[in-house]
Symmetry: C2
Subunit: 114 residues, 2 copies
DNA sequence: TGTAATATATAAGAATCTTAAATATAATAA
DNA sequence: TTATTATATTTAAGATTCTTATATATTACA
């Protein structure tokens, strides 16, 4: 499993991108999906995820709908129009970051890339 | 330029990898090199870099030599034997992280990869 | 003579994440 | 039937990391 240290800073981007792909999701579902996609390598903790969801809602990036499913509360999140533009910026930035890190981590990559 | 938020957690790995590649470097040189490699996209601040170097020294990961160059103090850092094994772990972890993030950020990548 | 570049240090504060505990229901296994 | 696992969210305390700002000092260049 990937140490949480590396995860710092990328949580928001992960959440927003998943919402862009899937339309709407609830918190628990997001953690499950991330584990599934990364084969257990990235595990989001609830203590990190839920506060981020609340913050993104306050910022007008996410829209919220509470629903009851089998007597269990589910709070669905989806992107607002602001959210759809924020996710594009975040993904662009992440892509630049991935490329930059690869230049450092894997110098061979840089040579073959240029 | 890449927001510092994304950088959180990867600073140590960047520093250690540069030292693995270059043998020994001083702090200021590390910031210059990172800017050069990433074409200014990643900029390390001194307030983040120097404390990390001190910490890695305390942990026995870095070896330190002070030298005087043109009446200017330079503190050279290089990997200890422990450092050489730590950098391998860190790079391995970073590689897994990059791959996992790409699975999320760029779902097309996942399809073509599997 | 002044400004930019070189070179390191560190304190105060902000932001983010971890850990842990709390709450509650449904489903499954023993 | 009872215990455990899975589902679902919340939030507080503490740790960690990074930013911002300030301090110090020399060399190079305009």
């Amino acid at each position: 499993m990937i140490s949480s240290e590396l995860l710092k800073g990328s949580l928001k981007t992960i959440v927003l991108k998943l919402l862009e792909e899937n339309g709407r999701m609830y918190g628990y579902e997001i953690t499950r999906r991330v584990e599934e996609i990364t084969k257990g390598k990235i595990v989001l903790t609830y203590g990190a995820l839920y506060p981020v969801l609340h913050k993104l809602e306050k910022e007008g990036v996410l829209h919220v709908e509470s629903e009851n499913y089998n007597n269990r509360m589910r709070i669905y999140y989806s992107l607002t129009s602001k959210g759809r533009s924020v996710v594009k910026e975040k993904v662009q930035e992440m892509t630049e970051f991935l490329k930059s890190i690869r230049f450092i981590i894997d110098p061979e990559f840089k040579i073959s890339y240029e």
